[in-house]
Each structure stands twice: as C-alpha cells, then as structure tokens.
C-alpha cells in the first residue's frame, strides 16, 4: 500500500499521543487552565482604571459648616477616604512623600467668610501625581463636585452665589509630575518589571538546566556546598541586573527625560536587594521545576501579577483589598514605590524604609526556601 496518502489512523495516533502527554505534563496543563482563570480574575476583578477611596488628609484652617459640608461631600463622592487631619504643611507633605496619602486638601482660614462675600475662596488640592492614572479620575470628579456641592447650603439669600463660575475656586497642585507625563511613572516602573522578568527566568533555568543535562549529579558529587552553588549562580546575574538598571536609567534620563531628584547611589543599593529577591525566587522555582520549560512557566505565573497587581500598569489603590494583599506580597510593588519615590519625589532612606523591610523579608523567605529545597534534592 502506498504510504503517500493521508490516513486517519496516523493522524489519530498523533492526536492521542498529544493528549496523553498533555495530561502527564501537569504544569503545562495548569498553565492552560490557570492562565485564563488568572487573567479573568486580574482583569475582571482586580484591575480598576477608576480608582476610588484614595487616602487623603484635610488641612483645614476653617471649622465652619461650609468647610465641613465640603469635606463630607468629597468623602461621599467615594473618591476620597480621609485618613485624618494634618496640622502643618510639613506634616501633610511628609505623608504625601511617603505615599501614605495621595491627596492633601487645604481649606483656607477665611473660607466661610470669603464664600459668603462671593469672593470665590480657593481650595488647594495637592495631589501625588507620580501616577497620573491613579489621581486623574479623582481630580476630574472633584471639579464637577465643586460647582454643585454647596447648592443645598446656598439657599435663600445665598442662592445668588450659585451658578456662574461656581462658589469656590479649585486649584490643583500636581506634585512630582505636574504635567501628568505618563512616562515619568512608567519608565521608572519598567525597571522593576524588566528585572523581575529577566532575573526570575534566567535563574529559574540555572539549576533546572544542570539537572536536565545531568550535570547536577556531577556537581553534587564534588565537594561544592549548596550555598556555594546558589551564591555562585546568583552573583553573575547581579552584574547583569545592574547593567539593566543602568541602561534603563540612561534611557530614562536621555530619552524620556524623567526627572531624577533623589540619590542614585541609594537607588543602586536598593536595587541590589530587589535583584536578590528576584534571583532567590528564580532559584526557588529552579529547585521546584522538573525541567526548563516548567521553570519558564513558573516564572510566567510570577511575572503576570508582578506586572498587573503591583501598581505598574494599573493604579494599586484601585484594586480590591484581596488584590492589594497579593500585590503587597510581591517585591515589585515595593520596589516600584521605592524607585518612583527616589527618582520623582527625591525620597531618602527614611521615606523608603516602610517599603524596604518587606523587600528584605521577601529575600530572606525566598532564599531559605531555595536553600532548603536545594538540600533536599541531594537525597
């Protein structure tokens, strides 16, 4: 019989074999089911381009009823969540720089008086505009609100103050990124994303490759210690990581003209911690994965939330609480805040400290899991 004709039994043989192999390769199967589910959860529930309940403080020098009405109207808009009051301008700015609050609302001392006189008092809204996407919707809402909020109070003889240009004037001061340039936010953020992607994949392959090629057995038979292997594999990639950091900084400065207000040595020092965190994750994946493909798949599972849930692509505060919790566990979340803080806000060690210790904790945990897993593979 001629072998040149198409036959269904041969086609079927291949189809069956593929299904059997698919069934055996659990990680690939998990990826085929897990990735769509993960994407659905992330894009469907976690991501919100219209972030609400953003933390804000009021610095009010006027305790009158109009001021209170105004603040409560802002709160009712759902865009703001007031976390307290700031007594001084310096205190308010500290909160803004640390990222504890996103907005400071300044109500002048003679707010009520000016209002009643029809002098259109100025309310200063200071915003942390490092991420324009996060503060934009709230600022838009506040402008719409300003014209109507006092309508209920302005009745009777005060009704004349309504309408026209509005009873109060809103002035927005967008700190750190006054022109709302998206690149200012994205380019420093890319540093974390690029490092996460490359570092986790490269080291994820590092030990799996040794095992897949059979060189691991040989390595284990020599007197080399697990710690020596781990650190020996990590060190070269720290150099690679620093090259990436430098490339991104150069591009940020010369191509995107991102401001660099803070200390670059501090940034480089923190980058070491972050690179270490990712390498530790990679090494841990490497000890868990059976082959290089699985290591890449695991890296992808880690990469996806590191882009979507960390505040890189979508505003962190727009996400529901569970997603913020996931994000808080990822090193990229903290690194993004540190990088943006140093470059755009000029933050120093004291301001970035709250983001520093979670990174450190992550390194310690990931590294100990990696070393522990590595030891177990000896037997």
């Amino acid at each position: 019989m001629s072998n040149r004709r198409f036959t269904f039994h041969r086609l079927w043989a291949i189809v069956l074999k593929e299904f059997i192999q698919m069934k055996r390769d659990r990680v690939t199967f998990a990826m085929m089911v897990g990735i769509p589910l993960m994407q659905l959860m992330l894009f469907g529930f976690a991501i919100n381009a219209d972030p609400k309940h953003l933390p804000a403080v009021v610095r009010s020098a006027d305790q009158g009823p109009f001021a209170r009405t105004f603040v409560s109207a802002l709160q009712h808009s759902d865009y703001f969540r007031f976390v307290g009051e700031a007594d001084t301008e310096a205190a308010a700015h500290d909160l803004l720089r640390e990222g504890t609050v996103q907005f400071v609302i300044n109500i002048p001392a003679d707010f009520s008086r000016q209002l009643l006189r029809g002098e259109r008092p100025v309310i200063l809204l200071e915003a942390d505009a490092t991420d324009p996407a996060a503060s934009g919707p709230a600022l838009a809402a506040v402008r719409a609100l300003a014209d109507t909020v006092l309508n209920r109070d302005l009745t009777g003889p005060l009704a004349r103050l309504r309408g026209r240009a509005g009873p109060v004037e809103f002035r927005v001061h967008a700190h750190y990124n006054p022109e709302n340039i998206t690149q200012y936010n994205i380019v420093p953020g890319l540093m974390g994303v690029v490092l996460t992607m490359t570092m986790v994949i490269i080291t994820g392959l590092a030990i799996t490759r040794e095992r897949e090629r059979g060189t691991m057995e040989n390595l284990l038979a020599t007197p080399v210690r697990p710690f020596e292997v781990m650190v020996g594999k990590i060190l070269p990639y720290i150099v690679v990581g620093y090259i990436q950091v430098t490339l991104i900084l150069l591009a940020a400065h010369f191509i995107f003209e991102v401001p660099m207000i803070g200390s670059l040595p501090l940034l480089y020092a923190v980058a070491l911690l972050f690179i270490g965190a990712n390498l530790a994750v990679g090494i841990t994946f490497s000890t868990l994965a059976k082959n290089q493909l699985q290591a890449v798949q695991m890296a992808f599972f880690f990469f996806l939330p590191s882009v979507l849930l960390t505040g890189f692509m979508f505003p962190f505060r727009g996400m529901p609480e569970w997603a913020q919790w996931v994000g808080t566990c990822l090193p990229n979340t903290h690194f993004l805040r540190i990088v943006r803080g140093i470059l755009l806000k000029g933050n120093g060690l004291a301001e970035i400290a709250p983001e520093l210790w979670p990174l450190l904790l992550f390194v310690v945990v990931a590294m100990s899991v990696g070393v522990k897993r590595y030891r177990q593979t000896l037997d």
Partner: protein, 309 residues
Amino acid sequence: MTAAEIFAIDVAGVTKRFGDKTVVNAIDLQVRRGEIYGFLGPNGSGKTTFIRMLCGLLTPDGGTGTCLGYDLRTQQADIKKHVGYMTQKFSYYEDLSIRENLDFIARIYGVPDRADAVQRSLRRLGLENRSAQLAGQLSGGWKQRLALAACLIHSPQLLLLDEPTAGVDPKARREFWDEIHQLAADGLTVLITTHYMDAAERCHRLAYLAYGNLLTRGSLADVLAAAQLTTWTVTGPDLRQLARELRGHPGVEQVVAFGNTLHVSGRDATRLDAVIAAVRTPRHQWARIPSSLEDVFISLMETAEDNFK
C-alpha cells in the same frame, strides 16, 4: 594494617528505600585497595543507587560502613574530596570546552598547580590538541575520555565508574580498560558497574546484584564455581521446536538461543541430564560446555525474580 588501610570500601547491611520500595537491600561489600571490582546486574538492580551512597550523593537508610575510611553517613564531605565519580550519563558541560571543563573541576576541588594539572591531564588522555573543542561536539568515545580525565584530576584514591563503557565502540572500550588497569596498577581502587560480560571478565573480582540483593561475589572462577550450573549446547534443525519441548521440563532452567545454537542450563545436573537423554535424537549434536558468566547471571537473576515475587 587496619581495616581502613586494607579496604577502600567496607560496608555492611547498606540499605536504601525510595518510598516503600527497597532499592538496595542490606548489601555487604568489601573492596581491597588497588582492586578493580566489577558490579554487575540488570537494569534497575540498584547499582547506581549503591554507587551514589558510596560517593556521598545519597544517605543510606540502613547499614554502616566506610569509604576510604570515612563514615558513609557522617563524613560525606570527606568522601567527596577523595573519590572520583563518573556518572552513567555524560555530565560535564557541553557548552564548555574540554579545557574549560577540566579547569572548572580542578578549581572546585582546589587542585594545587591547577594549570599544570589540567595540562598533564590533557596530555595523559591524548586530548591535548582538542582542548579548545566544545565538549558537546565530542563523540561518545571522546566524551568518555574527557569524563575519565575530569574525575581523575584531583588524584582520587577511589574511582567509581557507573556504566562507563555504555555506547562506546569495542576499540575505545579496550583502550579504556587498558587505562583502568594502568591506574589500578598505580594503586587506585576502581569500582565499576557494567552489564557487559566481557567487561566483567576484566575485573579482579565481581559482585552480582539483582532487585537490590547481592546474589553472588568473588573472583570470576569463584562465581562460576559457586553457581554449580550445568550447561549443554545443542545444534541442528528445528531448534525452536526443541526449545519449546525443553522449556516445560522440570530441571531445565534456561533455554537460550545463541545464533544457531541453544544453551540449555540447570543447577541440578542429574535431572538436566535425564531430560536431555529423553529428548535427545541423532538429528542434533549435543555437547556439555562450561557455563559462561552470562549463563550464570541469567540463572541467578531468574532465581532472584522468583524470590522477589
């Protein structure tokens, strides 16, 4: 002389389990220094697992013993320093050159005068003018030479070779064995696993392992004598028919075809002779031969299988 001075390997009751499966079952073994010891057995018999316990890659679940005088359980780090282990699968870096591979291993072991040691090693194995070639481009025989060079670079006292001649052509195999004998003559102890019978015949002493149990050991002559196996060969027409007839009889333990002859073996010589006398016709030529190692091992394995079931 103490035991550690006489024996490079001295273990008793060594056991390894993976889950509820006993892969190596209470093995006692003593290998004298300077000896070439052959470790034989079918695939999956526990040879590799046993070797991995000897070189500190695995911790035994039971038993005690020493390797080069170091305790198998507590002094694995010391064992690793003085043992050369050649894995079954080529396990050096294919994307490194021959010299880079040797240099890497020499660094790991902290070999003194490293450059010199690498050069000597290249020369000794005739790899000098290939030193810049990537290991991945080497043929099976050359890869094996490189692996041997690499596991000798730190001057080990004991060489553990796991199926070193698998996939190597007969000429390269012979050269390899000459090299091993040379090394043993210089005082190196060699434990070698194989399932090639010709290789077994080049060892000073042998052990045969099946299903994790050590079935026999000693010199070639000891092993053959201990088996007490009687073997006949038969040539002639319709051998397949004859083989079928023979297989059913008690006393006939193995009927194996070797080209145009059958080997018929059994441990009970009287019963075997009786069976043969019954089926014997002038159409076939029958002759009694000394049992070969292969006959003995197949017989041992089948007995072990029965016990295992």
